[in-house]
């Protein structure tokens, strides 16, 4: 007997009986036990309450017999109290718990990417055809020491900081092994290697069998220190100290014990089945000086051969914080906007803490320029990059490169059902259930990710060519190629762009 609940089904799964061939693929593939088969009657039915609209069944159904509809809001419509608000209150009234969610902020905050437009050449200078002319999007990560020490070219110059090339200004964001399956993780690593860019291990360490991808790995050191040891630091090309995450600024992380399988336990160096708790702060970083110490500890540990990145979430004072990080010795600053993804975060934090990445990029870039130290760090932006135009806009605002996390997972099949925290992911991505993880063939995943990078990169080249630019560095911080649409004075100033229609 089911317990009485005020929660109602969000979705209806409609099966077209005329089409259904009863192959039971939906039953076998649903991660949330929505599809049921009654063997006695040889009939199929659905438990709508279980449906999260992950679309797995829709995709797998060979007969195209399934459709998922959002149920009409069962509550009286109210412009202030949204159906979601009510639903959440009902849920909490029943459980008394914190509302959890997965993936990025889905609230309807205004998006600046959607109110920025790009420039193109007409007559006075030619646009450049990327199919005919070289179009360079290679980007280097790391501290840029200037002026160039000419006389020291002969011997290895120890003052020269390590720099790392990426063949496209797009990297895969930190998503930990544990949050996602080994298969998904491997797909990211393979695609990064094949394309010549970087993937980020996230805070869960790097499984030994993926050390072969070390040259394309940014290895993270987060507050939980999971999987951090000498080999791990040395096998990666870049080390990233993770301070914050766009989806949950100011709080730590929690990977439930059910997800700590034998392999994950080995990689993370924690007992199997125990919860992996990342503290909110690093307990050895309570100030910028502490950060500097950690940065140089890591540099010492890796013979100054690897750039050190510091990842923070975009918060109100992000520009000043970034400046401090640059001065603390970081070679790369990664900033994650409030649309950044997560495997699990409290809903309130995800949806209400942090600032949009566009503003954070603009503020940090300008602040570092004002201080004359922009060239000493690489600025990597993350958090909700949906398409190549977003990337181009971010770079024009002042980023050197971007991380894509959500977009990469979508390329792997994610449908943003936001149930990562349940570990039931039907797509084999955010789960450790071996029955589901095998759904993601890393070969195919890597191919899809490679294709995504290829497509976006080509689009970036097209957009660059249109602007008459044949190298990405000429776009960096080149806000003249951006114009705002429907932005107010303050916003325009913060972004450092003119309004569309203004010539200069």
């Amino acid at each position: 007997m089911s317990t009485f609940s005020l929660k109602t089904s969000e979705f209806s799964v409609i099966r077209d009986e005329n089409k259904c061939i009863k192959c039971l693929a939906c039953v076998r593939q649903c991660g949330f036990d929505c599809h049921q088969y009654d063997e006695e009657n040889d009939s199929l039915y659905t438990i709508d309450a279980n449906c999260v609209n992950c679309q797995r069944c829709v995709y797998i159904c060979p007969a195209d017999a399934l459709k998922i509809y959002e149920n009409p809001k069962p509550m009286r419509s109210n412009n202030y109290w949204s159906a979601n608000d009510l639903k959440n209150i009902y849920k909490q009234a029943e459980t008394g718990g914190v509302l959890l969610t997965g993936m990025g902020n889905d609230k309807a905050f205004p998006g600046y990417f959607d109110r920025l437009v790009l420039n193109a050449s007409q007559v006075t200078n030619p646009s450049i055809d990327p199919l005919r002319e070289p179009m360079e999007i290679r980007t280097y990560l790391g501290r840029r020491t200037e002026p160039i020490a000419l006389q020291k070219q002969k011997e290895k110059d120890k003052t020269q900081t390590p720099i790392v090339p990426i063949e496209t200004p797009i990297m895969f964001a930190g998503i930990s092994y544990g949050a996602i399956s080994h298969q998904a993780f491997e797909a990211l690593a393979r695609a990064a290697k094949e394309f010549g860019t970087m993937f980020n291990t996230g805070e869960g360490g790097l499984p030994k069998d993926l050390y072969q991808y070390g040259d394309n790995a940014i290895v993270q050191v987060a507050s939980g220190r999971f999987g951090v040891h000498s080999d791990y630091l040395n096998v990666g090309r870049i080390i990233e100290i993770k301070i914050g995450q766009g989806a949950k600024p100011g709080i730590g992380g929690h990977l439930p014990g059910e997800k700590i399988t034998e392999e994950i336990s080995t990689t993370r160096m924690i007992p199997e089945g125990t919860d992996a708790l990342s503290p909110a702060p690093h307990h050895d970083i309570y100030s910028i000086e502490d950060l500097r110490q950690l940065i140089f500890t890591l540099k010492e540990a890796t013979r100054y051969e690897k750039p050190i990145s510091v990842k923070i979430s975009a918060v109100h004072n992000v520009a000043a914080i970034a400046s401090g990080i640059a001065r603390a010795g970081a070679d790369i600053i990664a900033v994650d906007g409030f649309r950044g993804g997560t495997g699990a975060a409290p809903l309130m934090i995800r949806d209400h803490v942090g600032i949009p990445i566009e503003l954070a990029i603009a503020a940090i870039d300008q602040r570092l320029r004002d201080e004359g130290i922009r060239n000493s760090v690489t600025l990597v932006a993350a958090g909700g990059f949906r398409c190549s135009a977003d990337v181009v806009k971010a770079i024009a605002l002042g980023a050197d490169a971007v991380y894509i996390g959500t977009a990469a997972l979508i390329a792997l099949g994610c449908h943003l059902c936001q149930k990562c925290y349940t570990g039931k992911c039907s797509w084999g991505i955010a789960t450790q259930d071996p029955y589901k993880t095998r759904r993601l063939n890393p070969e195919l995943g890597a191919e899809r990710l490679y294709n995504l990078l290829r497509g976006w990169s080509h689009e970036i080249k097209e957009m660059l060519g249109g602007m008459g630019i044949n190298s990405i560095e000429s776009l960096k911080g080149n806000r003249l190629h951006l114009r705002g649409v429907g932005l107010n004075e303050v916003e325009l100033n913060l972004l450092g762009v003119k309004h569309a229609g203004e010539a200069i």
């Binding site: 280097y140 020491t145 070219q153 720099i163 190298s471 003249l480």
Partner: protein
Amino acid sequence: MFREGEYRIPSGCAISGFINKDGHRVDGSAIVKSIALMHERSNGLGGGFAAYGIYPEYKDYYALHLLFEDKESRNQVEELIKDNFYIEVEDRIPSRNVKSIGKAPMLWRYFVTPRLSKIEEAQDTEENFMTELVMRINASVSGAYVISSGKNMGAFKGVGYPEDIGEFYRLDEYKAYSWIAHGRFPTNTPGWWGGAHPFTLLDWSVVHNGEVSSYGANRRFLEMYNYKITLQTDTEVIAYAIDLLVHHHKLPLELAAKVLAAPFWQEIDRLPAQERELCTRLRVVYGSLLLNGPFSIIVGFNGGIMALNDRLKLRPLAAACYKSTLYVASEEAAIREICPDVEKLWYPKGGEPVIGRLEEEAQCRLSA
């Protein structure tokens, strides 16, 4: 209507220049003839010249060429100048009336040396002190503009076809070992005398044909080094970029050229290790100074000129030699016009700088 400085103005143009590497000084008629041949590449909204070695008698003084639109701006500037410099000579820049040229601003020149006390006060080098001052005038005194400020050189520019500008400034009366010239075809300007080419900063002068699509990136990078961008022209940022690289960061001109028109990664990747490392670092560090989009430029400086194309060679540039003279121009004809018997003529590859310098003996003689 906005004018230069208030408005970003892309323009197409004609450029020409030559240097007598033996230091032999010639009057301006040849350069005028050369640039005049490319009349069609200008539209009458700007022409200008820079000449090196023209003031041997005042070679140790900064020759400030200034334009004033009104009396008041001249007073303001002169006050500034007097505050900071000893003035050796001041006079109007000689000119002729030329029908086709509209009303000219007041054009003055001052041969000055900075007051040591002021340099000390600024706690800076003499050159930086000079640069600061020039930028201050350009940025803060409305109606006044420093056309050139180097030693033993001068820029002459205005609104009109270059041949008319040459006539106006009586260039046939100056003698220089190197001349560069510009005929302008701006797409949108009322035509302002200060906005014409060449653009100069101390000894540097730049004439330019093209439109730099990386302008925003270049500009914001230079602003980080305290360059005050006043004109919003490509020529201005090119001059500052060269100043930063060569003057402040001490890069040889050849390497500066590799910054402005960087080799493609695919070329860099093929270089021997040491060179590859250098070129990689150059691009990584100075990526923001890469001049992207179509351009051909001629840079004049004390003792030499450099011509450079964008790396795709989207704008024309020809070079030629005759005896000890090096010619560069947008079009081959502009060279043949003044040197029918060229010994060697070539079209430099995109990104490949053509540099002509005074021979050592001439250098010594001219500076003696």
